[in-house]
């Protein structure tokens, strides 16, 4: 987007207002990406904090290839993956925080999806391999084309699409399996 290119240009000149604008523009979407990719949701703000502080430190030398939203989404995905791995290694993932509490669900979607179903989806998505989960979230939530996911992940488009398809298939399998049992 041309607006993002201007904002990045101004950011690179040290314009704090441009950085604020970038932050405000993408904050909410990136929070969703973090929430969907993290096993422990108490880390959502930390992930976003690290991503934006890291981005801010590139002032004067940041080069935008592709979309800024895609770039920031991938940064969030990287941080989320690191945190999930660390938590797995330390076996300290706080599963009390991993699933949204009923009070956490708000808005019309709460009506559309029962808490039980959300909880099942939470668990099912958490079971997916990192790369499949990421492909689904980046494509569905961040609206990233497979081409961009492939470029930023340095994989082929087919691989990016396969991860997405396998992820969805596995989700269906998990949920259908639960239903049958």
């Amino acid at each position: 987007m041309i607006e993002d290119r201007f904002l990045v240009w101004r950011f690179n000149r040290g314009d704090a207002a441009a950085l604020c604008r970038i932050y405000e523009k993408y904050r909410d979407g990136l929070l969703k990406v973090a929430a969907a990719l993290l096993n422990d949701r108490s880390g959502i703000e930390d992930v976003l904090h690290d991503v934006f502080v890291g981005f801010a430190q590139t002032v004067g030398r940041f080069e935008l290839h592709g979309s800024l939203k895609g770039y920031l989404s991938i940064c969030v995905a990287n941080r989320a993956r690191d945190r999930n791995r660390m938590a797995r290694r330390q076996n300290t993932a706080n599963w009390d925080n991993a699933l949204p509490q009923p009070a956490d669900l708000a808005g019309p979607q709460q009506v559309a999806m029962s808490h039980e179903l959300v909880a099942r989806l939470d668990a099912a998505i958490a079971e997916l391999p990192d790369e499949q989960r990421e492909a689904i979230v980046l494509h569905v939530q961040s609206k990233m084309p497979f081409r961009e996911i492939a470029r930023l992940r340095e994989i082929s488009i087919n691989t990016a699409m396969s991860r997405y398809r396998y992820g969805l298939d596995k989700l269906r399998s998990i949920l259908n399996g639960e239903l049958e049992s």
Partner: protein, 413 residues
């Protein structure tokens, strides 16, 4: 679940339902560190010379008021780029300088608005503003306060500061101040309906408020803008966000134009003190401002405001910018002309009083406070100006900076 489409739909619903922390909470945690990281990392570079409009012409009391400001920007932002001989800037200034009042009629999504603005006798700043929306909303200034009436709520939102209007009336300072338009093009032609010669000017710019573009129509004979359209994008696509289809200039207007009548049962609610989110970043450099360690907020505010006015009286640009960092975005020549006013009778020569902290509010950096100051001008008059000070704690250090004026100055004697 039968196929991938179902699975995708379910994932979409799931993602929409996901809980995330509230924006205020997230901003407070992330924004200060992000801005501090940028300030720490950045190399010294020339800052944008683009003007922060809102510091001089403040307020957004709803969409209607925003339309007023938009008109102000759009009408006058372009003259400086108006360099072709037949349309020299001097001609435009000459054409405008006799008029003390303006009437604009325009449409914005969802309605139309009529805007009346009148300047003081010296034509240095606006004193009266009324914006009347077709849906019944009215925004106006009176006795140094600003009011916005929302008919659906039968409520008047008010603040004790004149936060709509023009701190610079029509003239070279304002034109120079707003000379930010880019990609300016001029097309000459005739109005097929009237046969009058006209000049169409197109321009666009992008700033922290997003992309904007304009088409402004000038009357070739009078050199005055007579119509304007604004779009919220760079290529003028889609419906305009404001379409000022009538602009009339007056040498003066009767007081009755600015009379406002609202239902007696209307509720009055004071607006909270706020600063635009996009200016917060500029206030976050720890090297700007002064330390507030060991000082009460009142003491710190008084100290920084006295230092700021002293910097103005000393015409100390660097000091002034470090105390009031929003001004870093302004060119030195402009800053000198608009703030220091070395050759003008309304320049500040003495600080008479710094008052107690009045209204307070919060930004992501911390508490903000409005403090009244009374100064004497070279012409002997006194002026009252409320200033907003931002208190902040960056790292372990308490400090403060001046955000800028809260509303326009008022001559009180």
């Amino acid at each position: 679940m039968t196929d991938r489409k179902d699975a995708k739909r379910m994932v979409e619903s799931y993602l929409e339902s996901l809980w995330t922390p509230g924006a205020d909470q997230v901003d407070a945690k992330i924004l200060p560190d992000t801005l501090a990281a940028m300030h720490k990392a950045k190399q010294p570079t020339a800052l944008s010379s683009r003007l922060t409009w809102r510091t001089l012409m403040t307020s957004r009391t709803g969409r209607l008021t925003a339309a007023t400001l938009v008109v102000g920007v759009a009408l006058f932002a372009v003259f400086d780029s108006f360099t072709q001989p037949a349309w020299a800037l001097a001609d435009a200034i000459e054409a405008l300088k006799d008029y003390r009042a303006v009437h604009v009629v325009g449409a914005f999504p969802g309605g139309t608005a009529e805007i009346w603005i009148r300047a003081n006798e010296d034509k240095t700043h606006s004193t009266d503003v009324v914006v009347r929306g077709s849906h019944g909303a009215i925004t106006w200034t009176k006795d140094g306060s600003t009011y916005h009436y929302e008919p659906a709520q039968n409520t008047v939102y008010f603040e004790h500061a004149p936060t709509i209007g023009m701190a610079q009336w029509l003239g070279p300072e304002l034109l120079e101040m707003l000379s930010t338009a880019e990609n300016t093009k001029i097309v000459r032609g005739k109005d097929p309906a009237t046969g009058r010669r006209r000049v169409m000017l197109t321009c666009s710019l992008i700033d922290v408020h997003g992309a904007q573009s304009w088409v402004i129509e000038f009357d070739a004979a009078s050199k005055l803008p007579i119509a304007m359209k604004q779009w919220p994008n760079l290529d003028r696509s889609g419906p305009p966000s404001f379409d000022a289809f009538k602009i009339i200039y007056y040498e003066d207007l009767p007081d009755s134009v600015f009379d406002v009548h609202i239902p007696a049962q209307a509720r009055y609610v004071e607006k909270p003190l706020e600063i635009p989110a996009e200016t917060v970043g500029t206030l976050s450099n720890p090297q700007d401002g002064i330390s507030a360690e060991g000082l009460t907020q009142q003491e710190a505010a008084e100290k920084i405001l006295r230092m700021t006015y002293q910097a103005i009286m000393d015409q100390d640009l660097d000091r002034f910018k470090s105390l009031c960092p929003l001004c870093r975005n302004w060119g030195d020549e402009f800053l000198g002309r608009i703030i220091f006013k070395p050759d003008k009778d309304d320049r500040i020569v003495e600080v008479l009083e710094i008052g107690p902290i009045g209204k307070t509010g919060h930004s992501p950096l911390g508490t903000i406070a409005a403090i009244p100051a009374v100064v004497r001008l070279k012409n002997g008059n006194k002026a009252e100006q409320q200033m907003i000070v931002q208190f902040r704690r960056l790292g372990d250090t308490a400090s403060c900076v001046v955000h800028g004026p809260y509303g326009l100055p008022r001559e009180i004697e």
